[in-house]
């Protein structure tokens, strides 16, 4: 199994008796409803007579609130309630890791778009009117928007928040900080702010309950974390806050934090009426945390033969006004800063700081895409300095099992880096531009401005690895219940219950495949994800297939065990067999088979005595917290991805077209080839977007483009077909040897596209997204010199 390789289109081994088990391209159970448009998303839900809730947001990135007058708004006809900071009965703040974000700003606002009040009214229009009638007297203060300034003054001057201005700093030291190779390259890099831009805007339907609690249907990534924060801020026990997952229109990290949940819950309790709260696109852009913008500096040194000797790096992430998941994002950025390479001597200094910019938190890749852009640009420049092929340089330096990471952690599991880069390098290349190339296939596409004579092709490679699951000693777990019962038609069926948030990634499909495989039943019913069962953890960190898949599998295995025990009893087998029935009995094709006697017992017969049920909690192996000097066994496991990008660039206009992308990704084992491909392609497209077009531009703390008009997303004309190869090496400790597949490809796609553009035009690129002027104007004119001081690299 270790070296088998499958193209994603190939069907993988079919473990299941039914054709719907793991390894198969099983279609989504919710697919037909989504296609017909009958699948209910959070924003589609309504109750007759419900109120409509809206949020009032600060127009200033930083201001003192002198006074909030809601009297006029309250008096408006149709307005049921107006709430502000003073109305929060419980804890005044919330947050994923530290509760530093006020439910409503009280005395100060710290970012443009910070919630100040919320209203509930008879209809949406009245709610909007009420917002306009709330009189907030702001005294604007100078916004602190340069993260470098915070780092340079040590964060203690002019604190923007009682918790201070530095969310976290990590100074990783590994090996000899003075060690240097003979060949050296160093430079600074800048990563712009990317947004998750999921299509279905934030929404929730909230119903107050008789016990003083609330029922909420909400589009989120983590029901239990939402519940804990809502309950704390409402000041009521968690069991009175009942959450059910509503249809989620994409997430990508943008729904890990609380946005409108507490506001909606509060208004429902105050009014005693059901209500819907929702965002439109502008509010969505202002309302959820984004990907951290980064300023990076690297110095790589290597021997003449191309062995990396040292990497010194400096990572500054702008966390914006509140913590969100900043501390964890920084740990990822720092520990992955030197990339998937064997580096004997590493020095990384990292900060994530508070500013008056929009809060940043989780987005697909979680700190790794930023540093991957930097370390891969450095590897290409090192290859140039050495006169070496960039693929060869990477092959020579990749990590292998037995190597030690900059954190001191030992690489124990398969890490097919060399295979990944070799695989993409060997894929066939697209045909070059010729006279027959239609102008629509040149850079700029349909817009037809490119001149084929001025188009240069570039090929670029990037390699990245990304940690899977939660790190730093977090005790992560997922809970699942599986019940085998007779359905209304008398045939056996399995009911699966998990609080795992299906956000589009396909857990609902995988869960069914697992249960079919383990229990051999055709019919699998998925109970709605809710807080009636224990936490499944968030849909992030590429963790749900492994963690919640693991929980579902464990529960199914226990159910099978109990069922076989029941069968053994029924067959009158001796007690030692009843205790360990697998010694003699097996579950196959919906029947219990006694291996020796050849007796067969239909499932339906056994279930006539009542259903068999099991709840299991799945945990991964424990990790350690990050110790001093950034050392420790902090990560559970890693996934690897290599991309090769081929681009055409119009060298006079700076127009770029991505001609082809090849990806080799380490996926553990393939549970659903079709769904896997979808994750690989979607992740690649988001990485391409960061490379070439996606940036939320923040100017003096003010977001300049919070709409789809000028936050530019890749269209189908921008994303070429992906030549995808899945590398399969079973992951120890994971169900079926699977690895999470959501993130690794996003990390390598951006640097590969940048590398290809660099190869095409022969100019070093220090910023993503790449803008046309960066490619054609003299460097000084294209963008101001990077604010990162190259000499600030810390360590000798």
């Amino acid at each position: 199994m270790a070296d088998s390789r499958s193209s994603g289109d190939q069907e993988f081994t079919d473990h299941a008796a039914a054709g719907q088990g793991i390894g198969r391209s099983v279609p989504r159970p919710d697919g037909a409803d989504k296609i017909d448009g009958t699948f209910p998303y959070a924003g589609d839900l309504f109750l007759p007579g419900m109120l409509h809730a809206r949020t009032l947001r600060s127009p200033h990135p930083r201001a003192r609130i002198r006074r909030i007058d809601t009297a006029a708004a309250r008096r408006l006809p149709g307005v049921a309630a107006v709430v502000t900071a003073g109305d929060v009965p419980g804890r005044a703040t919330y947050g994923l890791i530290v509760a530093d974000q006020p439910v409503f700003a009280r005395d100060v606002v710290r970012y443009q778009g910070e919630p100040v009040a919320a209203v509930a009214a008879r209809d949406a229009r009245a709610a909007v009117r009420a917002l306009a009638a709330i009189d907030v007297d702001y005294e604007p203060l100078p916004a602190v928007t340069d993260p470098e300034r915070i780092v340079s003054v040590g964060g203690e001057v002019d604190p923007l928040h009682p918790d201070g201005n530095i969310f976290r700093e990590i100074h990783l030291r590994h090996g000899d900080p003075a060690a240097r190779g003979t060949v050296q390259v160093s430079d600074s890099y800048v990563v712009g702010m990317q947004d998750q831009a999921f299509l279905g805007c934030e929404a929730a339907l909230v119903v107050p309950t008789a016990d003083g609690g609330i029922d909420m249907r909400v589009a989120t990534q983590w029901l239990h974390s939402d519940r804990e924060q809502i309950a704390a801020c409402l000041g009521i026990p968690e069991d009175r806050v009942r959450l059910t997952l509503a249809g989620v229109g994409g997430a990508f990290g943008g729904r890990e934090d609380i946005t409108l949940q507490i506001h909606g819950a509060l208004l429902a309790r105050v009014t005693g009426q059901p209500l819907r709260i929702r965002y439109d696109r502008v509010e969505s852009f202002l309302g959820h945390p984004h990907r951290h913008p980064a300023r990076l500096w690297f110095r790589h040194t290597a021997s003449r033969r191309g062995q990396l000797v040292s990497v010194h790096a400096r990572v500054v992430l702008d966390g914006g006004a509140y913590a969100s998941s900043s501390p964890a994002v920084l740990a990822n950025a720092v520990t992955h800063a030197s990339g998937p390479y064997r580096v004997p001597h590493t020095v990384v200094d990292g900060w994530v700081v508070r500013t008056n910019n929009p809060p940043c938190g989780a987005m697909r890749g979680f700190g790794v895409p930023q540093v991957a852009f930097g370390h891969e640009a450095q590897m290409d420049r090192l290859a140039d300095a050495l006169g070496m092929d960039p693929v060869e340089l990477r092959r020579r330096n990749v990590l292998e099992p037995g190597d030690v990471l900059p954190t001191g952690q030992l690489v124990a599991d398969p890490l097919p880096l060399r295979e990944a880069i070799a695989t993409v390098a060997a894929r066939p290349l697209p045909a070059p531009v010729s006279d027959r190339t239609p102008v629509t296939s040149l850079p700029g596409g349909r817009l037809a401005a490119a001149d084929p004579g001025r188009v240069r092709r570039g090929v670029g490679y990037a390699l990245a690895y990304k940690n899977l699951l939660f790190s730093e000693g977090f005790d992560d777990f997922s809970t699942a219940r599986v019940r085998l019962e007779l359905g209304p038609d008398g045939t056996p069926r399995a009911v699966v219950h998990s609080a795992c948030a299906e956000v589009g990634q396909g857990f609902v499909t995988i869960a069914g495949q697992i249960v079919r495989t383990e229990l051999g039943v055709d019919q699998v019913l998925l109970a709605p994800a809710d807080t009636a069962i224990g936490s499944a953890g968030p849909t992030s960190a590429s963790r749900q297939t492994w963690m919640s898949g693991g929980a579902v599998r464990a529960a199914a295995v226990t159910v099978a065990e109990r069922l076989l025990g029941r069968a053994a009893g029924r067959l009158g087998l001796p007690p030692e067999v009843v205790a360990e029935p697998r010694r003699l009995l097996a579950l196959a094709d919906g029947e219990i088979v006694a291996s020796e006697a050849g007796t067969r017992l239909p499932l339906a017969d056994l279930l006539a005595d009542g259903p068999v049920e099991a709840v299991e909690v799945f945990r991964h192996r424990r990790t350690q917290p990050l110790g001093p000097d950034g050392q420790g066994d902090v990560h559970v496991a890693f996934a690897v991805a290599a991309h090769r990008a081929v681009v055409d660039v119009d060298v006079d206009l700076g127009l770029v077209r991505v001609v082809s992308m090849a990806l080799a990704q380490d996926v553990g084992m393939v549970l659903n080839p079709m769904a896997l491909r979808g994750q690989a392609e979607g992740g690649t497209a988001q990485g391409l977007g960061l490379a070439l077009m996606e940036e939320l531009v923040v100017d003096g703390g003010v977001v300049r483009n919070p709409t789809f008009h000028d936050y530019v997303l890749p269209t189908i004309a921008d994303v070429p077909a992906l030549d995808f190869v899945a590398l399969t090496h079973a992951q120890p400790g994971a169900p079926y040897g699977v690895k999470g597949v959501g993130e690794a490809a996003t990390c390598s796609a951006t640097p590969a596209v940048v590398a290809a553009v660099r190869a095409a035009i022969g100019r070093d690129l220090r910023r993503v997204p790449i803008r046309p002027q960066d490619l054609v104007l003299p460097p000084g004119q294209a963008h101001p010199a990077d604010l990162v001081r190259p000499d600030a690299g810390g360590g000798g």
């Binding site: 149709g78 596409g445 817009l447 401005a449 077009m693 483009n705 000028d710 890749p714």
Partner: protein, 331 residues
Amino acid sequence: MIVAVPHQATDQATDQSADQSTDPAPPRTARLHRPLTVAEAVEILADGDAEILAGGTDLVPALRARQREPRRLVALRRVLELRSRGASANMLIIGAGVTYHDLTGWSLSPGLAAMARVVGSPQIRNTGTVGGALGTANPRGDLLTFLSAVGTEIVINSARGARTVDVASFLATGLAPTELVTAVRLPRPCGPQVYLKIGSRQAASAALVSCALVVDRVHERVTCAIGGIAHQPTRPAAAEEFVRQGVDWSTGTIPADVVAGFGELVAEAAGAVPDPLPDDVGVSAAYRRHAAGVLAARAVGRCLPAAAPGAIPGSAGPGSAGPGSAGRFRS
């Protein structure tokens, strides 16, 4: 398949009171007129406080956001006379209700068709109209840039009658609120025409910079307009004159140094506009000036073969096949 939709008479008194109880400031827009003729439309406009609704691609999102709140809307969807396009001996006439989609396949004006093909997405091309483009007069509007290059007359109607202005004065002075654009009139092509556009992605993008260039073999001149530089399309007069003199009109060819010089002059003109657009979210003004020069040089190169001939693929104009083809467009 038109469904008759009877007007729903409502009780004014109860309607009124119900509204006032829930919304002290209901949206102003209270009335939609759907005239069948231009004459009816201008009569309604004459009463004032009305805004014209064509495809709605610009106006409807603005109404939703309450950026615009006219008291009345005058919809042109049913004014069939605005939907026609046609040609006389020397002129093309395009009704204000013609959509981009209607223009994309129009063989009488390949340049216009090329322009229309690169507007927005299919959804926008199916909906957006010529009149709407002029009404919005977005400085990056593709149609505006094209019409500025060819020299266009805008036909405007009001209750007081019709008037005609050239596109430059139209953009300078705008429309009175009681006026309606009914058509645009432009010369039939007398040579190749191209429209080149730079956007922020491969499709469905507004113009960051664009260039329309038109060769008139009859009058032996080249006209050009650049979009995305100033608050209206820029006509680089000195560059146009330079290229007019540089072309060998007997063969219809252009020396390479004239192409390059033209590009430089256009970039210069772009740098000298009195009212430059500021830096964009993603793209600097300096880049746009640079790109204007590159686009202009390419545009003229696509329209007129170099002294050493060689067809360049992708030219939208008929002239890329060589000088002979221009004859087809002589009237």
